[in-house]
Amino acid sequence: MSDALIRMQEIEKVFLTDEVETHALSNIHLEVKKGEWLSIMGPSGSGKTTLLAILGLLDTATDGEYLLDDKPVRDLPPSGRAHVRNRHIGFIFQSFNLIGDLTVAENVELPLTYRGMPPAERNKRVEEALARVGMSHRARHMPGQLSGGQQQRVAVARAVAGDPLILLADEPTGNLDSKNGQTVMKLLSELHQSGSTLIMVTHDPAYARLATRTVSLFDGRIVEESGTSVA
């Protein structure tokens, strides 16, 4: 058994539009160990988001092998992929993606609901998650009543409420001003320090430096890797 939480080998992703074949990812080899904070950098169109989508089982690789917690996940059926996303992955999006018709608490509760968790335990987890991001006082508010920074903190609470194996953050500060951006990054640092495994896509080298390791993509290939892989 390997100590890698994520192991990708020779991952390829090809998009076919009309008669044009676009290679979004080529020959990706990537390992992420438990407790590691990996930052993915690269210019627009380099394949960062595609890689994150495949890591998060939102998309499938055209070729290659993907093991999550030593289990192959590339060929899982849709319901199996939904199960893995729900149990093992937490998402943090650039534009928060809170559901406008649900309260803050209901947004955080949503993945737990899909898990079929009993209401009492859901409530407990929601309270803990909101407390962790300092948003307990806004539990009954609607997302539209919150600032961007607050919304992203709620999104982080939603991502961690299910206690996932790995957190995937796609440009988590992209829609925030610098002050709110720093607050969110501080939150992610705290999560990492408490043992969470993070993979974060970012444009900002300053934020990338907070990660323990950084990979740079260009034209769908990993062209540079820096930092230390932690055991």
């Binding site: 939102l58 319901s79 199960h83 996303r85 729900n86 999006f93 899909y114």
Partner: protein, 786 residues
């Protein structure tokens, strides 16, 4: 405004398929509504084609004991003519048939016996010659005749007044011709004076109709109020119990059709409302897509009302286009209604699409257009300017509005569907239960013997000989005669008393339908005799058969066989012994249970005009030539009339219910389809707008089933609220439908349960396609859009 109109056309051209569907939907709904309204207008709104028709009234005999209204007897009519207040004139009339045999094949001629002043009351002038003079309105006056315009041209060939027309063997002098307008009352070929047949002294037998004209300056309400006060006095003076009431002539002639027409108009109005709600939803969706445009316009200085006007103009253009097309559809729909109009209802000869109908179509179209545009207009006028300029803002409140429209649409569909299901159930039950006799393989032919040619004994002998000959025909299983075939139209009723019981006081008088029948009648009709026997052949004593309803009502817990009934309220008048009890048979309408009925033996009464009923082995119409030949053997100049199979009689009697059931079913099907389209449209639109949200949910672990369930639940939730509102409304309005129902309660819980299930299933099916589409949302794609 012109600029708004130009812009509206441009916007509608921008999405031609949506515009075309909207115009067509409205055209169908408005066309159906206008078609029904044309019948309503012709029957209830268009004044009768007589001078000052609003002054014409009818007086009716009112029996407070049994809540019945009918025409008067001659003594009653004379009392009213002399004593009823506020009337300038009052006339009586009665329809009979003549035999015309001087011109080729014997013909039956409908004649109207009219009292003095009849034509003057109607305000008519003769087309040729003159009307009757006072000295022709006396007993045994010289036989004179006024021809109807149609009969004069068609049969008399434009004969000059003074010519002779032989009717029932009597030479009548043609004195004049009356215009076709007189047929408003009842379609007749000829008019003769009623007083020639006097004296008629029986106060209890009601055989006349009346028509009167109010004095100038007297309003209808005042005349009704004055008569209400005078009626007890008039009755007391005659030592009678019946009162008199006054109704406008138009209401009397067409009133029977009013409930049916108004119910159909309400039903088709619901379809129009559902269509309008559907289109309002489409317009709301369009307006949501144009939020930014509205915000920009407002930023450039457009006021809220100005924006609202622009949207209202757009929806008005769609509605008016739909209305114009609908008017063309109404031409066709109107003809369909005329064809399907039940003959048992007041005649609907034409339903012109006149200015009333045009105005109705125009106003309803415009109103529909305004209704459709109202919500989007309000949103455009009140929208948040700053939010509108932001991407995707404001969707939530419009979502609520769309939800409210779906609730309304589902509620309206439930209202219509429950009515249709109740009427269909009722209709089906009515047909299953049947008339009480077997209608298959049987024929009815009216044989009107002229009293002037046939005395009482001759009439009895004619029908005896006829029955003997017809019964002997190959293929005939049984034959009988009866005064009126049940459900064939018309009624003869009167009170009766039980011999040996104390005389009844006014409040406890008993009434029954009275029918004269031959010995073989029950076998010919296949009406079971449930106790005792049918009439005996050549019964020496006066004997009668009663129906089960009379036995239940008058002899509860007793055996009626052998008991005697008297005609009228005092025993001693034509006492007759009950020899049998016949099964109940529907008498007037297929959806009304039988009332008390007494059958008198034909050979003991000697009626001149009877229906011959023939039960056959095969097609009854195939025997008609043989039956006519047997009649001609007895009297070559004797015509027959009202040739009908009993199936046609029953069909005619069920006509209004059939029309109602057919049209309501069609409207309900349209409502269900529109509701399904509406729910589909809203759910599909919502799914389209929520693709990213669905993507997020999937990213968080929602399985396809979770998404499917969520979308179905949301579609169903709205519909179920609508179902609940619709059922509440239907229960509140149930009594309006009660008079159209038979054997099923207007609040029948099973019906409402079925309707709720049907609409819920429809909503689920309508939501299923967009829900399946939602499950195919690719989170990678929907989230990549960010």
């Amino acid at each position: 405004m012109f600029q708004d109109f130009k812009f509206a056309l441009r916007m509608l051209r921008k999405s031609p398929s949506v515009t075309a569907v909207a115009v067509l939907t409205l055209a169908l709904a408005l066309g159906a509504t206008t078609s029904i309204f044309s019948a309503v207008s012709a029957m209830l709104l268009r004044p009768l084609a007589l001078p000052n028709p609003d002054r014409l009234i009818v007086l009716l005999d009112e029996e407070p004991q049994v809540s019945q209204q009918h025409g008067p007897s001659w003594p009653e009519f004379e009392d009213w003519r002399a004593q009823a207040p506020d009337l300038a004139s009052l006339a009586a009339y009665r329809q009979e048939t003549f035999n015309l045999s001087q011109r080729g094949e014997p013909l039956t001629v409908d004649r109207l016996l009219v009292s003095r002043g009849f034509f003057e009351v109607l305000g008519l002038q003769p087309l040729a010659g003159r009307f009757f003079t006072p000295d022709e309105h006396v007993p045994n006056a010289a036989p004179v005749l006024v021809a109807s315009e149609g009969f004069w041209h068609r049969v008399l060939g434009g004969m000059q007044p003074g010519g002779t027309v032989v009717l029932d063997g009597i030479p009548f002098t043609l004195v004049g011709v009356v215009p076709a307008a007189a047929s408003v009352l009842t379609i007749s070929d000829a008019y003769v004076t009623l007083e020639r047949k006097l004296p008629w002294t029986d106060r209890g037998t009601h055989y006349l109709d009346t028509v009167g004209r109010l004095k100038p300056g007297i309003s209808l309400s005042r005349a009704q109020a004055d008569l209400k006060i005078a009626a007890p006095r008039i009755a007391a003076a005659a030592k009678a119990t019946h009162l008199v009431s006054l109704v406008p002539l138009q209401e009397y002639l067409h009133g029977n059709a009013a409930p049916l027409l108004l119910l159909l108009l309400a039903a088709v109005g619901l379809v129009l409302l559902i269509a309008a709600v559907n289109l309002a939803n489409v317009e709301l969706a369009r307006a949501t897509g144009r939020l930014r445009e509205f915000a920009v316009r407002r930023a450039l200085g457009a006021s809220g009302p100005r924006l609202a006007r622009q949207i209202l103009v757009e929806s008005a253009v769609v509605a008016l286009a739909g209305g114009a097309l609908g008017f063309l559809i109404a031409l066709w729909g109107r003809d369909l209604i005329l064809q399907a109009w039940p003959p048992s209802l007041p005649a609907l000869a034409s339903a012109p699409l006149d200015w009333r109908v045009l105005a109705f179509a125009g106003l309803v179209s415009l109103g529909t257009g305004m209704g459709i545009g109202l919500l989007p207009a309000l949103h455009a006028a009140r929208g948040d300017l700053q939010a509108g300029l932001k991407e995707g803002a404001g969707a939530s409140s419009r979502g609520r509005a769309r939800g409210a429209l779906i609730v309304a649409q589902s509620a309206l569909a439930v209202l219509l569907l429950s009515g249709a299901v109740l009427v269909l159930q009722s209709f089906s039950l009515m047909l299953r239960k049947g008339p009480g006799y077997r209608s298959e393989h049987a024929l009815s032919v009216r044989v009107p013997l002229p009293p002037s040619k046939y005395g009482r004994e001759q009439r009895i002998e004619f029908f005896r000989a006829l029955l003997e000959r017809v019964s002997a025909l190959p293929g005939v299983r049984a034959a009988g005669v009866v005064s009126r075939v049940p459900l064939g139209g018309g009624s003869t009723n009167g009170n009766y008393s039980v011999v040996g019981r104390p005389p009844q006081d006014d409040e406890h008088q008993t009434y029954a339908e009275k029918r004269v029948a031959s010995q073989g009648y029950f076998a010919a009709m296949q009406i079971p005799i449930v106790r005792g026997r049918a009439f005996a052949d050549n019964a020496p004593a006066r004997e009668i058969v009663i129906n089960e309803a009379l036995a239940r009502r008058t002899f509860p817990g007793e055996d009626p066989i052998g008991k005697q009934l008297a005609e009228g309220s005092d025993p001693g008048h034509d006492d007759a012994t009950i020899v049998g009890i016949a099964a109940d048979v529907k008498q007037q309408r297929l959806n009304v249970e039988a009332t008390s009925e007494i059958y008198y033996l034909e050979s003991q009464k000697g009626f001149s005009e009877l229906d011959l009923v023939v039960r056959t082995d095969g097609d009854p119409m195939a025997l008609l030539p043989s039956i006519k030949a047997r009649i001609a053997e007895l009297d070559p100049s004797q015509p027959v009339t009202r040739v009908r199979t009993l199936e046609q009689v029953v069909e005619r009697a069920s006509g209004p219910q059939r029309l109602l059931a057919e049209l309501l079913s069609a409207f309900a099907a349209a409502a269900l389809l529109l509701a399904a389209l509406g729910i589909y449209g809203v759910v599909a639109y919502t799914v389209g707008r929520r693709e990213r949200e669905i993507g997020v949910r999937m990213a968080l672990g929602a399985r396809a089933f979770d998404v499917l369930r969520m979308v179905l639940r949301e579609g169903l939730q709205l519909s179920l609220i609508g179902v609940a509102c619709g059922i509440a409304a239907a229960l509140a309005l149930a009594q309006l439908l009660a008079s159209f129902l038979y054997g099923v309660s207007a609040t029948d819980p099973l019906t409402y349960a079925l309707v709720a299930i049907a609409l819920s299933l429809t909503a689920a099916l309508a939501s299923l396609l967009p829900a399946l589409r939602a499950t195919r949302v690719d989170p990678a794609i929907s989230l990549r859009a960010e």
